[in-house]
């Protein structure tokens, strides 16, 4: 079965049982996707990522209320159950995904067709929403040639595709009963594929039943279960199952007890094969992309969190939706000159306000950057480059000042790290602390990084965007617990690098040693940071390269 057939089948199963939630269709817009959408119920509602809450849930229609003078309420899109098409699903903000997930959870009959146009592997539908949709179909490799042979809506009965209220209710069909062994088997297979969520086997169960109904059968067959597994489990797999199931003692037992009866008996291996046939080849890469996404947002761009409520800007004319706040005074001022005319025209007393009078409050929010300098002041660094590092930091400070960035300074030497300067904008203070920074002792790199991470986390909570700049010659020799153990020290540093990466904090590693240190390059890779070896650089070139890496 190719992916086009799968897509059509998925839509049919959805029509039969809306409880399957929906389907994610990954494809760029084009004739193939259009052909698929043509199969859908033409009354399906379309939702776009920027949809307002009012449009989704309904509420007071303020514009109509004001013009007519009595209460007008509008109905939201979610009020009536039925198929919904979410266009540009990969751009849906977390908030919308959460709303839609809750709607799918609570109401019977909603089905969601999420059109995922993501180009990069890390652009994808919000995992929260994707979790609630049974199917995931990738149509990116399908050409129009594969499609043309298939029936269009007119040739088929419209009822076979997602229609309002679903197909089960309309046809009054009873779902085939599910033998308990199958339930167990599906659960086991999901576990073997490394799927944690229990929604997956539930979906597999429903899909199998729906498939049996589609085939006009009252009992389940091997076919139903295999197809259901392939459609609902493959894209959720987080590990490739062992080719040979490692339980030779339980498998024969099952078959013995079942074969005597006249029940359905499918070896696990067959079901796993069905799933395996559909497992993407690049499973591991995709998992890595998903991991990266957790730290960095999901292609919707990083949410900008203002650390202040923002500087108020003059209010402007606008519509009252999506949480916009009305500038009451501005609105009244705009409406004032028209009162006499409007009263005469409508012969209604009281204040006459029309939607065109609305003035909306606006704020400008800026997320400030915090540069956390983590400076190696150990003996080895002091001998060589401490002065240059200090100079570079000072130059960077000048630029930071111009951009109104915040700066924090962490130094590590001896056995521990010290926060010399908590996040500040004071240039003078920073310079003074930096100049007074003594050198000497061991290199507790890990300890310095821990302090930097702590600062970064606190800053992130306050709405700042932290960047960690580590200046060191990379010869870590003091472990986190303060002992002089070169091996453990390197291990600790690696571990914290992972923490930095998982937090998604930007970082730069500047190698101030006389020769580039390969261990340091590794470290930078682990934390997904830029690595700048500066064996023969002066303060000015150091500052220039850092500025380039940071960008504007």
């Amino acid at each position: 079965m190719d992916s086009w057939q799968q897509a059509v089948l998925a839509l049919r199963l959805l029509a039969i049982d809306p409880g399957l939630g929906g389907v994610t269709i990954r494809a760029r817009s084009g004739p193939v996707r259009d052909a698929l959408l043509n199969l859908l119920d033409p009354t399906a509602k379309r939702i776009h990522p920027a949809i307002s809450d009012e449009a989704l849930f309904g509420g007071l229609d303020l514009s109509a209320t004001l013009t007519s003078g009595h209460l007008v309420e509008e109905q939201g899109l979610l009020a009536k159950a039925g198929p919904m098409i979410l266009a540009m699903a990969e751009r849906a903000p977390v908030r919308l995904a959460a709303h839609l997930s809750i709607a799918l959870d609570r109401t019977v009959g909603h089905t969601m067709i999420a059109l995922d146009e993501g180009a990069e592997p890390d652009e994808a539908v919000d995992p929260k929403l994707a979790e609630r949709l049974a199917f995931h179909i990738d149509l990116s490799d399908v050409t129009l040639h594969d499609v043309s042979a298939l029936p269009t809506r007119k040739a088929e009965q419209p009822a076979t595709f997602p229609a309002r209220g679903g197909f089960i209710a309309a046809q009054g069909r009873v779902l085939p009963s599910m033998p308990p062994e199958i339930t167990e088997q599906l659960t086991q297979i999901a576990a073997q594929l490394g799927i944690d969520s229990l929604r997956a086997p539930l979906f597999a169960l429903r899909a199998a039943k729906a498939h049996a109904i589609l085939q006009n059968r009252d009992t389940l067959t091997q076919d139903d279960v295999e197809i259901a597994c392939a459609l609902t489990l493959a894209h959720r797999a987080t590990r490739v199952p062992e080719p040979e199931p490692q339980q030779p003692d339980t498998a024969p037992n099952n078959t013995e007890s079942q074969s005597s009866e006249d029940t359905l008996d499918i070896p696990d291996e067959l079901l796993l094969d069905a799933v395996r046939a559909l497992l993407p080849d690049n499973l591991l890469e995709r998992l890595a992309a998903q991991k990266a996404r957790q730290g960095r947002g999901n292609g919707t761009g990083a949410a900008r969190k203002g650390n202040r409520r923002g500087r108020p800007l003059p209010s402007r004319q606008g519509r009252l939706d999506n949480g916009a706040r009305l500038d009451l005074i501005g609105t009244l001022r705009a409406a004032a000159p028209w009162q006499t005319i409007r009263r005469k025209a409508s012969e209604r007393k009281g204040l006459h306000i029309q939607p065109s009078d609305f003035r909306i409050k606006r704020y400008e929010e800026k997320s400030d950057r915090l540069l956390i300098f983590t400076v190696d002041a150990s003996g080895s660094a002091a001998l060589t480059r401490l002065a240059e590092a200090k100079g570079a930091v000072e130059l960077l400070l000048g630029q930071a000042y111009a951009r109104r960035d915040h700066v924090a300074l962490v130094a590590f030497r001896g056995t521990e790290a010290e926060l010399l300067l908590p996040p500040t904008r004071s240039l003078v203070q920073t310079k003074r602390r930096l100049a007074g920074l003594p050198g000497g002792g061991g290199t507790p790199l890990a300890a310095g990084m821990v302090t930097a991470v702590e600062q970064a986390t606190t800053a992130q909570r306050k709405g700042l965007t932290p960047t960690i700049a580590i200046l060191t010659d990379g010869r870590a020799n003091i472990a986190l617990d303060g002992t002089a153990d070169r091996k453990q020290a390197a291990k600790d540093a690696q571990q914290i690098s992972k923490v930095i990466r998982s937090h998604g904090t930007d970082a730069i590693v500047i190698d101030t040693g006389n020769r580039p240190e390969p261990a340091l390059r590794n470290l930078a890779q682990t934390m997904d940071a830029a690595y700048l070896p500066l064996p023969r650089a002066d303060a000015q070139s150091l500052s220039d390269s850092v500025a380039t890496v940071l960008g504007e």
Binding site: G19, H70, M178, L198, L351, I353, R461
Partner: protein, 333 residues
């Protein structure tokens, strides 16, 4: 759709226990449920609503007042008759605006009739009940700030757009979320009395049981509900009984020392840890129908009462639950 019955939830004992404890003693201050997708977080919270015993309140009162004299003036109620109503469980949607949450000038009335009237928000509706926030870690910061203040004082103060109104807003905060998607500020964490971490069951038979029950819930709803609603009713009776016996419970100084020592050893910030731990342990003892508070009760509820009050250790991957368990082992033996 009727919610999935609380008693039919397989496993997740800690989560269920935490919710029952807040139902017994609302002053414990709410539950935070953190865990992966598909572990039954939302299901449990929604099931809780059906489990709670009804309360007596003045009909039509916007803040669910118990007595007629407590009904605020701005409500402009004509008759003040009391009636039983289900404990309010109010959903705070993520996209809720400040106006929706705190209440604001009734724009509709202001513009069409020219009247200055107050339109109560979700906080008013949740008074004497539960406020449920799904995906609490994605909540916008300014809403969080609002909640922090109100959750602490139990009173919602509105000073805006020419309105000056205050009304009681005592509610139990229930939040759920997936920690992978964002962190919660420590200030808000602290406002939750109990916190539990849920994970998918790893045991195959347990997983199968979950699937079976869910399947039965969807396909044979009537019979399934009939069976489990009886169990829910049994839990409800037990909650009511525990509420009564809570006052008679004896607390020895020895247990108090245990509690204080435990919190000291864990280095939890502030005294709220001790207070919550004590309240939770008492509620737990009442639930178990014991007459006196003992060390065993403290030990059982310590992880959920203290887990979220520890300082974060970036290198400890085991999670704070294990740290609490370890310290409990050391201190209480």
């Amino acid at each position: 759709m009727t919610p999935f019955p609380f008693s039919a939830i397989v496993g997740q004992d800690e989560m269920k226990r935490a919710m029952i404890l807040t139902a017994i003693d609302a002053s414990i201050g709410g539950v935070l449920v953190f865990g992966d997708r598909g572990t039954g977080k939302s299901t449990a919270v929604r099931a809780l609503a059906a489990l709670l015993p009804p309360i007596k309140a003045i009909r039509g009162c916007p803040v669910n007042s118990e007595k007629a004299k407590d009904v605020p003036d701005w409500a402009e109620l004509e008759s003040k008759r009391a009636a039983a109503m289900p404990t309010p469980v109010v959903d705070l949607p993520l996209g809720a605006t400040e106006d929706r949450v705190t209440g604001a000038l009734d724009i509709e009335k202001a513009l069409t009739k020219g009247e200055k009237a107050f339109q109560p928000g979700l906080l008013a509706k949740a008074n004497r009940g539960y406020l449920y926030i799904d995906e609490v870690n994605l909540l916008e910061d300014h809403i969080v700030d609002l909640l922090l203040d109100v959750a602490q004082s139990g009173e919602n103060v509105i000073e805006r757009e020419g309105l000056s109104i205050r009304h009681p807003a005592r509610f139990v905060l229930v939040g759920s979320g997936n920690p992978e998607e964002g962190e919660l500020r420590p200030q808000l964490l602290d406002r939750f009395g109990l916190s539990v971490e849920v994970a998918s069951p790893t045991d195959i038979t347990e997983r199968v049981e979950v699937i079976k029950r869910r399947d039965a819930f969807e396909n044979d709803n009537t019979a399934f509900m009939l069976r489990w609603q009886a169990e829910d009713a049994a839990i409800r009776d037990r909650i009511l009984k525990a509420r009564k016996s809570l006052g008679k419970l004896k607390t020895s100084d020895k247990v108090l020392t245990d509690v204080a020592e435990l919190c000291l050893a864990l280095g939890s910030d502030g005294l709220r840890g001790e207070l919550t731990l004590l309240k939770a342990a008492r509620a737990y003892a009442a639930w178990r129908d014991d007459t006196a508070l003992t060390r065993a009760h403290v030990r059982d509820v310590a992880p959920m009462a203290l887990r979220h009050r520890l300082r974060r250790d970036p290198l400890d991957e085991a999670g704070s639950g294990t740290r609490v368990a370890r310290t409990v082992e050391e201190v209480l033996g």
